[in-house]
């Protein structure tokens, strides 16, 4: 299972790359595999406020839909516009080109609520 060590993970299968006061957010390789072919990603507008563990968007696959939860609270500074035309990049490169939004972190302490790669790997193996 592909779980990069430099990211933080939420129990609902989102990842966050924290760099200074910015977090880049996406869904994990496990999540994209479970969903199957992704056909649309609904994302918030730049400037929208998001709250940790609350939905900020939705990921539509052929057969199923899933909420995209915010792994941390903050304000959306950028959305990945490329996903509009090619949502399948999430299937191909969940941690790279398949990123979804960037936020300006409003409460850095929330990072403590996220798992590291080892913790996420363990959760996934023992009962999702």
């Amino acid at each position: 299972m592909n779980i990069p060590k430099d990211l933080k993970y939420a129990a609902s299968h989102e990842w966050a790359r924290i760099e200074g006061d910015t977090a880049t957010i996406g869904i994990t390789d496990f999540a994209q595999g479970e969903l199957g072919d992704i056909v649309f990603v609904e994302l918030p507008a730049v400037g929208a406020k998001v709250t940790q563990n609350k939905p900020l968007g939705t990921v539509e696959a052929v057969k199923a839909v899933s909420d995209l939860n915010a792994p941390m609270s903050g304000e959306v500074t950028e959305v990945n516009g490329a996903l509009e035309g090619t949502p399948d990049v999430v299937n191909k490169d969940a941690y790279g080109a398949g990123w979804m939004v960037k936020i300006r972190i409003s409460n850095a302490a929330e990072a403590a609520n996220l798992m590291d790669a080892a913790g996420y790997d363990k959760m996934e193996k023992h009962g999702h």
Partner: protein, 366 residues
Amino acid sequence: MEKKTPFYQHHVKAGGKMVPFAGFLMPVQYQGIIEEHRHVRSAAGLFDVSHMGEIEVRGPEALKFVSYCTVNDPAALAVNQVQYSAMCYQDGGIVDDLLVYRYPEHYFLVVNASNLAKDFAWLQEQSKGFDVTLANTSDQVAQLALQGPKAEPLLQKICDLKLSDMKFYWFGTGKVDGVEMLVSRTGYTGEDGFELYFDIKYADQIWEALFQAGKEFDLRPIGLGARDSLRLEMKYCLYGNDIDQTTSPLEAGLGWITKLKKAGEFNGRDVLLKQKAEGVKRKLIGFELEGNAFPRQHYKMFKDGAQVGEVASGVFSPSVSKGIGTGYIKAEFSAAGTPFQVEIRGKMVPAQVAETPFWKNSSIKK
């Protein structure tokens, strides 16, 4: 603990993502639903459908019994002909939908895996007073569905029946790679193709023979995900979504298999006759959504602010590249072209009753 079909190891080897389905571990996809879906529409795909249930009905009153338990008319079947039908409760609700195969002296019923135990118990109950014997042969039968426009030339390479003479919804008993089996020109995809029923002991041999013969046609294994999107593009019913014990065949658009005037009594006839005379209050329709919105089971359908129905099945359609679905809607709004709305996470999304099937370039030769 889920059962495994005799093809389990082949699915794993081919990269199938195995999920629990109707008590079996089944491949939901191999390469991806969209790619697999398009491959069946353009070339050929092989589905393991060994989870399906098979029931033999034998005895002097086999015809009378099958007719009593199903809404279509099995008396109309010639030997080697297949019929799509449904079994109904006395209140007109659907026990299951099924295929009825006519042999010279007996009938072979193919039912949904998820309903097999219920169906068999129900059929046994119904059989009291009929001179018939029922046998559930599901555990001895392997079933593969070979589907796609290349299915006939592919199968003909290793089959001793003259397939070009076999029409849609007919079957024969012949040899495939030297193994005797039931070869049926049927399927659940909207493409030409065959369903093969044979003894599970030949599972490995037949799987390998089909892929060997299928090399030049780029035959690929196809999962349950694409099976669902393919059937939905044809508006073929799925039990549990489109039909169940609360829906009647007339509501489900299955009036064409409901032979109210056939000879002899059958389950549900009185209710169905009344529904037919009075008209049904709701109908199963196909619809399309506008934009990047996708319907899912149980989403609500609205018209002028009032709820008028509920989504039964929904999917991203790989053929028309938009969200399509089925749903039960009040009969007055069921005409093709009627606009309505589907509520998706609090938003009202424009929808329209569609002409079905959604897929209009089927390779089926009727």
